[in-house]
Symmetry: C2
Subunit: 297 residues, 2 copies
DNA sequence: GCTTACCATATAATTTATATATGATTTGGA
DNA sequence: TCCAAATCATATATAAATTATATGGTAAGC
């Protein structure tokens, strides 16, 4: 008993004429006769009484007709459901990632989500947070991971992780010899600082210094992590960047700031009030779940 | 998408391992791989993510799994239903028919019921009504058509038809020359009567005569219609039998009694309080329906 | 009484399903 | 680190099922 045979049966039951049913099914008459007969054999019953020139359904036939319609209905609905779901699960997720977040934060999002939705494709752009917010607004990307703080009223957001800010300095700099793996803000007072060229982050750094009634001596704002590290390595100053942006270089020493309490928060953001394709909605939910599970551990 | 493929899919979904699933399904692994893949192609989606050594269901896969189980469930239930119904519709109906009823009353029951239940077989016995009641009691038959009246408290019954009683007489008998096709009871007073040898019927005849303050002159009780007709044909008397038992014979004339108001009622009877196989129940319902439809016409 | 409509059967061709053999890749353990 | 076991995919061959063509029989309609 398979779906094809059942639909043959249903057609015959509705036409009560094998030849007409065969025409309707785009097949010739003998195979249809054969299929009906073998269905009867399989069910060990008589479905139709063949009277000379007319077919008539038996009691069993009538029961099977009702059931067959239910089954066929259910399965065609299921098929539609799957097809439309497959449709909704195909597409591209365009995501902006602020420099440095890809491997340690977003890495598992892609592999995990890809497992559930293998027909998804990702288009990932990087840039600094201000760039990414601009790209979001212009619709070039539909979601992004940026660094906190985020004061945009037009964005939804939730935190997806954080990491300590570190001070990179030349290995001959006096601070590189301090005990432990940390320096305090107090120790950085007066030091020439190289910082990421991002307004929100720079404001953060100002806050740190203000909390000890001081102010930072920022001599350079830079976009590029590598260049900033290079400058610090050459002794131009101390560069303050997130830990993951570290560069292995013997002339370079990194120290956490205030024992790791000065941290950079990463936020997952997307535009408020603009409906997203369901695939991207799913992705956002997935990322939220991932983050929740992580914070449990 | 057919049921076989769906059950393959369900097995794989439960094992999450094609090789194991194939073993469970008593088939080899490659065709199973092939079937799953072609199912994915048909639905234009990915059902499983093949990771190195493990399978994982996608979102679409999970949806299809739920639906497939519903569909398979429904169809196996339907199959059982049909099979058990086919079982209940196979069997023999043993029926007693009082002489003369077969063609004009019961004929269409058989052809009509056989159309609905082609696996049914009939075993038909005839005899006079008393014999049939005895056969019912002994279980030799499970239902019968007998002539009214029926005073058995142990039988269920409903009427299935009636027919006029007729008087057969030799064509030279004076009554055969009466106007019309009827004689009255009054005219039969004193005539030697040949009647069926059935107590209940004879009592009926006595009632007819009592109603005109007379009594019948019964000279012979006979079992056999043909013999009775033969005796009447030879001028031995007037034989009173149901109309259908007429015999074409030039020396024989038949007249209805009291304009066809003296009638023989046929009853369908079966034993009270003894459960019958569902097939026979259905037959009784069918006969009841036939009768109801006829009385409407 | 001939033609048409219709179902059944027989046989052939095609398509589909399954098995065997094999390759590639990965995991787990010696 | 390398070997063995496990596992999925592919290729090819075989078996099974499905379908079409051709044909016959039977009953209904003109």
């Amino acid at each position: 008993m398979d779906l094809k045979t059942l639909s043959y049966f249903v057609t015959v039951a509705e036409e009560l004429n094998i030849s007409h049913a065969a025409k309707k099914l785009n097949m010739s008459q003998p195979p249809l006769s054969y299929q009906i007969k073998s269905l009867e054999q399989e069910l060990n019953t008589t479905l139709f009484v063949r009277g000379k020139r007319s077919l008539q359904m038996t009691e069993s036939g009538q029961l099977l007709y009702r059931r067959a319609k239910e089954i066929l209905d259910l399965s065609s609905k299921a098929e539609e459901e799957i097809l439309s779901m497959a449709q909704g699960m195909k597409g591209t997720i365009s995501l902006g990632l602020v420099e440095g977040t890809a491997p340690h934060i977003a890495g598992e999002w892609f592999t995990g989500f890809y497992r559930m939705y293998p027909n998804v494709r990702f288009r990932i752009m990087d840039g600094n947070s201000d760039d990414l917010v601009e790209k979001l607004r212009s619709g070039l990307i539909s979601m992004a991971v940026i660094t906190s703080p985020c004061d945009h009223m037009l964005l939804n957001s939730f935190p997806v992780g954080n990491e300590p800010m570190v001070a990179f300095m030349n290995s001959e700099h006096p601070l590189s010899a301090t005990e432990g793996n940390s320096v305090s803000i107090k120790q950085l007072v007066g030091e020439p600082l190289i910082v990421p060229s991002r307004r929100a982050l720079i404001e953060d750094i100002y806050r740190w210094f203000r909390s000890i009634k001081s102010e930072p001596n920022i001599i350079c704002e830079m976009d590029n992590y590598l260049d900033a590290a290079a400058l610090a390595g050459r002794g131009m100053g101390i560069s303050i960047f997130p830990q993951t942006s570290y560069i292995s270089n013997t002339s370079l020493v990194s120290k956490q700031i205030d024992g790791g309490t000065r941290r950079l928060e990463y936020l997952f953001v997307w535009q408020k009030g603009r409906p997203l394709p369901s695939l991207e909605e799913h992705f956002i939910d997935f990322v939220r779940d991932c983050t929740a599970q992580h914070s449990l551990i």
